[in-house]
């Protein structure tokens, strides 16, 4: 192979090698083991895949499927105790599965590039971005003195960074997430590798940014003739970006083939499950076993009763309430200003939420959609009465919750409960599952120990967890199971409204589908109202009746879900919709 000219960005398309030629990368029957607590854990068991020059191939799978491990074995960066126990990794026909450290150092960068997952932690904060690009050139012997600076700026520009020369002198903290990912792409492609491994390159980014970056990566690698091995959990994204799909499950390749064919005619039961659950490909609101129209009517009926009871009991001393409305929550001109940096009048002010108004109908699901920094979670926190409101009102059943006294606020807690995003942080690790679910009952002095235990069993049963898990601790459960525990805890007090703050965002797609179904069934069964905070429009379509789209603290659009999806009124909403990966792909019958 002739050395590529590094100073000349080769943007002309290289001729495709003959179809009959040796594939660029061939992984054959790869086995990778990790050693953990004295036992061998088989992370990859007999994986095989082929990547041809200039081609994009995607490995799809849930967490723990071995997709990242496979890629790490290819580039010789297996973490910790990982090692290749058998099988071949052929790069241009040469086996590198057991290559030495020195051989891998020579390969990395020049033959195989890598774009890592997390743009926040993969740039060194003490060096300028330009320095880090030059470092990639230097490591591959392409650093040509004075030219290097210009070359680095050129690479950054190529990766889609405007004003690249100035940007190259900046530090990573001055970059947004999308810009950092572009810098990482520039580094990955700096030495013109023939294979670029992109491990979840955009999963930490907002959907619109994700789309821009992937579009750019696609056109850039196409013009450079670089093959891309894309690792992703998102089937829609994989199908949209890759010609060839490799589906992995529990360390094995269960199905592989042309992307469209797999999507339209999945053969393996796991792939079928995955296709069925992929939220980006689903197009309808989940239907529960109970007819939804009925549910809403029942819920309203029950609400009127509950309202009367509530007024008679604990809320008797509240200010005069209006008649029970079908609207359980009404947010009026809600504003939240945070003081950042410094305090008092001199501090910088940030309007996180700016004059937001919307209403939530009883027994339905309202989704607040927005990208990071849109203020959607801040709205949720104010509806939960967890942070004070700067201006405006939050009416719960006609009562302004921002003016509640201590006793009333305590009673309010029984009626509105949250479910949070991170299943690994939302349960106290020192509490057993029983104590987690029992705590709300204990705090509110409900029942004695026997009746509380019965209630906990009942709640766990509702969220489809065996009663035997009561004595377990959160660290023993998977993310989805923990989220079910969090749902059980939220339901313990018979709340009317459940605020789900990105409640399914951290979960694998199948588990996500399962939790959404569960939430939907529970809504039907208990007449719950959901306020669903999410960045994922695909999820919105599955669960929400109404949508509130937020951007930079303001409401951009608020309408019933179907109308938002079929006839979006605002450009921003349209951009969000278009950014759903795989949204445009037609599924077979």
């Amino acid at each position: 192979m002739s050395p590529r000219d590094a100073n000349q960005p080769n943007l002309s398309k290289r001729p495709d090698p003959a179809p009959a030629g040796t594939p660029l990368l061939q992984v054959e029957d790869l086995h990778v083991d990790f050693r953990s607590n004295g036992r061998d854990v088989h992370a990859v068991r007999g994986a095989s895949l082929t990547v041809h020059a200039g081609q994009t191939v995607a490995i799809v799978g849930e967490s723990g499927s071995g997709k990242s491990t496979t890629a790490q074995a290819v580039i010789g960066l297996l973490p910790g105790t990982g090692r290749v126990t058998s099988g071949k990794v052929l790069l241009d026909g040469r086996d590198i599965a057991h290559a030495s450290r020195r051989e891998f150092v020579a390969l990395r960068g020049s033959s195989i590039g890598m774009v890592p997952q997390d743009p926040m932690s993969n740039l060194n904060p003490v060096w300028t971005v330009g320095f880090q690009v030059r470092e990639a050139l230097r490591a591959n012997g392409l650093d040509k003195g004075v030219n290097a600076k210009a070359r680095a700026a050129e690479l950054l520009k190529e990766a889609g960074l405007g004003d690249a020369e100035r940007r190259a002198k900046q530090f990573p903290h001055e970059f947004s997430g999308g810009m950092r990912q572009r810098a990482l792409i520039a580094i990955g492609l700096a030495s013109r590798p023939r294979l670029l491994i992109a491990d979840e390159p955009t999963s930490a980014l907002d959907v619109t940014v994700q789309r821009q970056i992937l579009d750019h990566l696609q056109s850039l690698t196409a013009s450079l003739g670089t093959a891309v091995l894309l690792i992703t959990h998102d089937l829609g994204l994989a199908a949209e970006r890759a010609e060839h799909l490799v589906v992995m499950y529990k360390g094995q390749v269960v199905e592989s083939g042309p992307a469209l064919e797999i999507l339209q005619r999945p053969q393996h039961p796991y792939t079928q499950r995955l296709v069925a659950a992929a939220p980006s490909l689903a197009s309808r609101r989940l239907e529960s076993s109970v007819v939804r129209a009925n549910v809403v009517r029942q819920a309203e009926h029950a609400a009127v009763e509950a309202h009367e009871v509530a007024v008679a009991e604990s809320l008797a001393d509240l200010p005069e309430t209006e008649e029970a409305t079908p609207e359980v929550i009404r947010v009026e001109n809600l504003t939240k200003v945070f003081t950042i940096r410094g305090s008092g009048a001199r501090g910088e002010k940030l309007r996180a939420v700016d004059d937001v108004s919307f209403a939530v109908r009883r027994g339905t699901t309202t989704a607040i959609v927005g990208e990071s920094g849109s203020g959607k979670s801040t709205v949720a926190q104010m509806v939960l009465n967890l942070i004070p409101v700067t201006e405006g009102r939050v009416l719960f059943d006609g009562v302004d919750i921002t003016t509640l006294d201590k006793r009333q606020a305590f009673d309010f807690r029984r009626r509105v409960q949250p479910i949070f995003q991170n299943p690994y942080a939302s349960l106290d690790p020192t509490y057993s599952i029983f104590r987690v679910v029992e705590e709300p009952l204990r705090v509110h002095g409900i029942g004695d120990s026997t009746s509380r235990e019965a209630r906990v069993r009942d709640l766990l049963d509702k969220v489809a967890l065996p009663a035997s898990s009561m004595r377990r601790f959160p660290n023993e459960l998977s993310g989805g199971q923990r989220q079910r525990v969090a749902i059980a805890r939220a339901l313990a007090l018979h709340p009317e409204v459940v605020v789900c703050d990105e409640a399914v965002s951290a979960l694998d797609v199948l588990v996500q589908g399962q939790i959404l179904t569960l939430l939907n069934d529970l809504q039907a069964e208990l007449g719950l109202t959901y306020l669903f905070i999410t960045h994922d429009l695909a999820v919105v379509r599955q669960i929400a009746d109404d949508v509130v789209v937020m951007q930079n603290g303001k409401v951009v659009e608020a309408a019933p879900t179907d109308r938002v999806f079929e006839a979006p009124q605002q450009d921003y909403t349209r951009a969000l919709l278009e950014a759903i990966p795989g949204g445009s792909i037609e599924l077979g019958a």
């Binding site: 082929t50 094995q252 269960v254 083939g257 042309p258 053969q267 499950r273 601790f473 998977s478 199971q481």
Partner: protein
């Protein structure tokens, strides 16, 4: 390249189902017995030989401190000038001090002062530092500013120097006063660690969830934040127990620690210094006892840290 052409090696492949049996989505694994975080830490500890070595040594020291008469019937204060710096002999395996006291008996009896000072100081420091750190970290704002500045003032004074200055002005010295003085200058370290640990825990989602349940701020602090922030404090308490014993010995050696009426390793080391050349064994035994005790606690702290925070484990 057209969409329909399939490159070699990329034909549609489907794995036989029996090779990868499909499991129910997210089924609960019932095979392993339930275990808490602390149970997990205990399982880690149980496997470490270093843990058992330090536990056995510490237990031995504690038993010696509690009932020294089990190990010797000789009075450590009984002086026979005829035996001054005498060699070991039957019934007196370690020989005699310059004043003709039995070295073995004094080493045995000296354990009590060390262990009591170590335990007392550790308890005081952990309680005071823990409470101050928890309040500063959890409530923040003015509380944090005030408490952190106060602890900074004490932090600026070196432990032993501060103790010497304060202790020399005291009228009476006992294990209690020595412990109090040591604690006075040592609590800020624990407070800092507790504060950092609480700050980290405070922002966890389960804390927000607890507040959303209707728990008051204090209830959240006591029930959720403190139990989760305790790990690093336990580690530092175990390690500092050893350093308190060493600090007490230092003070006694300098003659400002425990009065000579209380048998202590530090005092004995100080007294033995004068006869280091002629009779080194007089110095050796209390010094060895001191080193082994301090080392045991530090080793224990090390393995406990590994068990509580697997990330800090050295490979």
């Amino acid at each position: 390249m057209s969409d329909t052409s399939v490159r070699p090696g990329q034909e549609h492949f489907v794995a036989p189902l029996e090779e990868t049996p499909l499991r129910a989505v997210d089924a609960v694994d019932d095979s392993a017995p339930p275990s808490s975080q602390w149970g997990e830490a205990w399982r880690q500890l149980r496997r470490r030989p270093l843990f058992w070595v330090s536990v056995v040594l510490i237990l031995l020291v504690v038993v010696v401190a509690a009932v020294p008469s089990l190990f010797t019937s000789t009075n450590p204060r009984f002086q026979t000038l005829a035996d001054s710096l005498g060699d070991p002999r039957d019934g007196h395996p370690f020989g005699f001090t310059r004043l003709g006291e039995d070295v073995y008996a004094r080493t045995i009896y000296g354990a009590r002062a060390s262990v009591v000072v170590g335990l007392l100081s550790t308890v005081l420091v952990t309680v005071v530092g823990g409470v101050v750190g928890a309040i500063a970290g959890y409530y923040g704002g003015i509380w944090d500013a005030l408490l952190s500045r106060i602890s900074d003032i004490f932090f600026a004074v070196p432990l032993v120097l501060g103790a010497i200055v304060l202790i020399t002005s005291l009228q009476s010295r006992s294990t209690l006063t020595v412990s109090l003085v040591l604690s006075l200058f040592a609590w800020p370290q624990t407070a800092r660690i507790m504060r950092g640990s609480v700050l980290q825990t405070r922002s966890a989602e389960f804390v927000t969830a607890a507040r959303a349940l209707g728990l008051s701020r204090l209830q959240v602090l006591v029930r959720h934040v403190v139990p989760n922030a305790l790990g690093p404090v336990i580690v530092i308490a175990t390690i500092s127990l050893g350093t308190f014993i060493a600090a007490e010995a230092t003070l006694s050696y300098l003659g400002v620690g425990l009065p000579s009426s209380i048998v202590s390793w530090g005092g004995d080391i100080s007294a033995a210094q004068t006869s280091l050349r002629s009779a080194p064994q007089v110095l050796f035994w209390p010094a060895a006892a001191l080193s082994v005790t301090v080392l045991s606690f530090i080793m224990l702290g090390d393995v406990v840290r590994d068990a509580l925070d697997p990330k800090a484990r050295t490979r």
